[in-house]
Symmetry: D2
Subunit: 388 residues, 4 copies
Amino acid sequence: MNKLRIGMIGYKFMGKAHSNAYRSLPMFFPGAVKPEMSVLCGRNGEAVRKAAEQLGWRESVTDWKELVARNDIDLIDINAPSDAHKEIALAAAKAGKHIFCEKPLALTLSDSREMLQAAEDAGVRHMVGFNYRFSPAVRLAKKLVQSGRLGKIYHFRAWFLQDWILDPEFPLVWRLQKDIAGSGSHGDLGAHLIDLAHYLVGDIHEVIGMSETFIKERPLAEETTGLSATGGKGKDAPKGEVTVDDATLFLARFAGGALGSFEATRFAAGHRSTNAFEINGSLGSVRFDFERMNELEVYFTSDDEDVQGFRRVLATDPAHEYSDAWWPPGHTIGFEHTFIHEVLELTNAIAEGRQPVPNFRDGVKCQAVLEAVERSVNERRWVTLAEM
Amino acid sequence: MNKLRIGMIGYKFMGKAHSNAYRSLPMFFPGAVKPEMSVLCGRNGEAVRKAAEQLGWRESVTDWKELVARNDIDLIDINAPSDAHKEIALAAAKAGKHIFCEKPLALTLSDSREMLQAAEDAGVRHMVGFNYRFSPAVRLAKKLVQSGRLGKIYHFRAWFLQDWILDPEFPLVWRLQKDIAGSGSHGDLGAHLIDLAHYLVGDIHEVIGMSETFIKERPLAEETTGLSATGGKGKDAPKGEVTVDDATLFLARFAGGALGSFEATRFAAGHRSTNAFEINGSLGSVRFDFERMNELEVYFTSDDEDVQGFRRVLATDPAHEYSDAWWPPGHTIGFEHTFIHEVLELTNAIAEGRQPVPNFRDGVKCQAVLEAVERSVNERRWVTLAEM
Amino acid sequence: MNKLRIGMIGYKFMGKAHSNAYRSLPMFFPGAVKPEMSVLCGRNGEAVRKAAEQLGWRESVTDWKELVARNDIDLIDINAPSDAHKEIALAAAKAGKHIFCEKPLALTLSDSREMLQAAEDAGVRHMVGFNYRFSPAVRLAKKLVQSGRLGKIYHFRAWFLQDWILDPEFPLVWRLQKDIAGSGSHGDLGAHLIDLAHYLVGDIHEVIGMSETFIKERPLAEETTGLSATGGKGKDAPKGEVTVDDATLFLARFAGGALGSFEATRFAAGHRSTNAFEINGSLGSVRFDFERMNELEVYFTSDDEDVQGFRRVLATDPAHEYSDAWWPPGHTIGFEHTFIHEVLELTNAIAEGRQPVPNFRDGVKCQAVLEAVERSVNERRWVTLAEM
Amino acid sequence: MNKLRIGMIGYKFMGKAHSNAYRSLPMFFPGAVKPEMSVLCGRNGEAVRKAAEQLGWRESVTDWKELVARNDIDLIDINAPSDAHKEIALAAAKAGKHIFCEKPLALTLSDSREMLQAAEDAGVRHMVGFNYRFSPAVRLAKKLVQSGRLGKIYHFRAWFLQDWILDPEFPLVWRLQKDIAGSGSHGDLGAHLIDLAHYLVGDIHEVIGMSETFIKERPLAEETTGLSATGGKGKDAPKGEVTVDDATLFLARFAGGALGSFEATRFAAGHRSTNAFEINGSLGSVRFDFERMNELEVYFTSDDEDVQGFRRVLATDPAHEYSDAWWPPGHTIGFEHTFIHEVLELTNAIAEGRQPVPNFRDGVKCQAVLEAVERSVNERRWVTLAEM
């Protein structure tokens, strides 16, 4: 196989990131299977046609069911709003298509399990869009943990802090509505932290959380599907109820004994998108912040005693994963590159006849933690993952 | 009153810090009441005599009861190990002495309440040693919160991370023994975070915590009272059980609606003493890390939209509390200065006929949260402060 | 005009960056003229054919003279080694082609002037590749200077620090040979600093410099044209003379009265590519480091006196140039994006019938400073730009 | 000898720092000779009496000549304004007193040489107050250089940036008058950089500099001797000429082959007191900034290739010089501590019968560079130290 014909559903924020990834892969990773940007699908015919042209898709359609059924498509890329993931994925699996689905996999754990089952039954490849795993600095963190260079892991703490809805007049966009988005900061931001925890530290045993919606009503958005909708008609605009969490925090015990602390919020003034974690082990520590995504801070207890300290490692050296494809050391990459690396894994896995990582299993695992946290919030008690 | 005759019990880490504070006050704050370093008390006569000479105390004694009873002493400064605080404080109050007690006030909430009651009944001044309140950068944070410049507070997150017992061969010093120390990282480090939370954000409504002792047995220490004891006789040394927590984390809801996250650990490789917090409000945020204690990072939502970002404010300008006493802007101060400012508050309060802040009430409030967290750990449930 | 047919000469480091820029422009700046990636030119037919395929060029050729003469090409993009710039540019101008030339424009000032003259005589558009101007954070710095928000400028200091040839066994690649590269760190790195100084502060009046070649002989490279050539045959490999500077520093007085300090070196251990500057004005300061290219640190004297400090501004907000084209606030971009913005200026200028900025005039100005510094080094005296 | 009877002349900024050092030494370095704070000398009898009381001096006098002549004084500490250094030092030497003199040693090189000669002829101990050498982090830098762990040194770059006279209405205090202060930022700030260069890298071979007075006239100060004088009578106040430099930069070649870059300015908005340097060697680099004086950033080329980066070393560990005397790791010290360490060296040297380091030789060496730079500015040419 040296081509992968793609049909993609959705073309907003994630659709643009995916399109760029498909388009860039052959230039920077010439050894990879070449993604064919075949068909883009969206509900509004005129808008999707225009998007297809801009983003580089050969064709556009408005009916995803038709797309899923086509014979000239190998993979369905789902980045529609979260409430549409399940139905599309089930149909794609049934049609024997490989599936690349944005996170969160589904609105509920049971839905996500159904999706995994369907994909496995159909024998297709499936991937879930936890793109942050694909930052070179995160790969380095993984390498240090996995190789034992940090020793036994004692602590994992992580924050995903944003501030884009701090203004009470920010409108009620779809991401603030439970029936479409599933949850708020928890599913949107916390999901990434949970996946990084799974990737870097391992399974979580139990959790207890706390959640809050600080602003309970907001002006109705004129256009309720975009991240950047600029809102209602001022102070007198009709308001609607915010049905998702503005912030969710939880404590966790990992199966391996480490203690975890997680926080996701959209109310952290000054944080545009601080997606950060720290791991402390018996032999060292690492720190990461996506706002400085090319850097990993690394500490080793074995350093000479007069020069112990966190090192600021710029993960752009030849020793760092993916760096060969890019620029000389010290020349950084950005947010969108995580998607190019993600698509590299996707195409490599398909070419090699294996499941990509992270796949729907990881999506399900993440969903289980998300839902365990929600249950712990509702029932005000520790919830073990075994209960889920 | 222009003199304050002090009798101090204990002369290790805190005793040195207090001695330096008393000694330095008149030079840097010439308007303050002059502390007289009258009597130093310790169990070992030879050692305390030597310490008194080094630290600048006029006299040394070995019996604290005798000291407390003397007529030529106005204030008893207690920085003996935590298990001795209560008995001394009760005696000092009974003797009509003002009391300056290191934190934690006592080993239990009920003990600390008894201490407060005794001090109030005796009509003496009482202070508790939460020194971090007295960093100029923390004062600035307080000023910003109190004046409303950060708006409504949504988040408080704080960490006190150390790594001095990361090595499993580090010996079983007194700080690792529950009967002497009361608790481990929770009471030692977490107590400071809780006090800062009270100071900066306000009362806590409810908590839920998680605690762990990673290394359950350690070599017996030859000398078990010092922070820096260098341990047993190697790998074959007899071992004893660690009876305190190595790490304790908890979530909290503040009475005012803010969400809190707290972590205290001695197992964070690379962190010698990271005592850090961040506050997010509706109009801005502040960040502090005691390893860079002269700095406060400050963010305002009202900044011009093209230049929004956290400012690194060096709290050494004339506009910052205490700065007049020290050096020109940009010339920093250190850990010990927090104690000088603390003693300034102590002497000023006594001179002005008011209680110092923080006082035993604050010590009790802190103890209540510490114990609520412990109960929440033991009973695996949320505990409200009203229960305590 | 809505297409721009490009013939590009050279396809290594810069060729890849340019190719990516042409390819990405339409997706992220759909309003811009679409660059047609028509013909790629290189000396080795097989290699250039392969590169064309990977980088997305329709056709490949080996004779640049033939390319320049073609009727179906609108613009010649020159990123061949520096010694070839002039001949190609003159031919391109003569053929009426627009020209986009990598920096340094030429090996000498007089050559660069000849190129400018030729381009102006031919009436074509010309641009020089000072890509760092196109970082959003640098644009913000420019905006702050230009609008007067920093006041009168007193200081400009800049460093371009690298460490890739620190190892004495690193081979004698073309960049270390004067006849091909023109100069070493001075022309390669210092040129960027000089251009930023011109862009941000203005004309330079006089300079005095200091230059050194720390390692005077190096193993001959097997392949002497690549940045990443991995060298000779070990310690016994035949050696050749390094004929360029390893480091060049100079002081400058700007025409407007500011004082400048410049340093370019490839011997700064730990600096992969620290391209940094700071500007101090009467009303504020800015700081930039390309290793954290999304950030600009900004200080204003007008800030409230208790919260004065450098702000870390992440130039990814809607208020920042280019940000609309990219990702939500807090989602960073990388090195290659500077080229996309550069190509945006190139295509916009051509469409609007004006010269792009920076153009050959800026290239000449930069070359004049480079050469003034060299003269000042050779003659051990201050050299005014008026002499050049 | 176990006492050192001190007579100190001057009691403003430096006098306070010295007083605190003498007073603190016995508490923190009990093994050192105890300084006796015998006599404080100042011109205004009432003021010096009050200062003596506040700062802890036993006695005060107004005539320094009388003080120098006394038999009960072992050491004269000179921190009067720079123009008085020479006369006092010569008299003190003649009287057989040890001398501790603040920097700059004198207003001219020849004066400083005379002072050295006098001290050597008299056989007394002499020290000059380059206090920044005594930061633990700077000691660590020295250790790394001296032990060869940084390899051959290629680069030294240093800045001392302040902003306290940025406002044109700031008055004409004594530090802005050549006849009293000798020079401006050059002698005040640059002198420290030069001494650090000597200490860390070695002798300087030649220099070339550039100097500027941005604000040429300022309101006359009512009180012209203090750093913090708050100025004249507004915009209509009579003005006087600023006769020192606001900023001086210079390039240097070290005798050992390293290249140096130095900048001292009082016009760097946002920099209260950034006293920073970086050293790049063949095996590593170090970076220091006095605003974060407890930290040294350290890089080694020998680190594993995937974790290379600058380490933030907090110089508060047992492995760091002076740390035993202070607090546990992670508990920082401040500006004034450099003076305590300085006085430790002073008393140790006297007790051990050797010259302290840095002494008048270092003061002369610094003065020679200062004056070579001034000559290079005036004559617009490189000046070698051999000429001086």
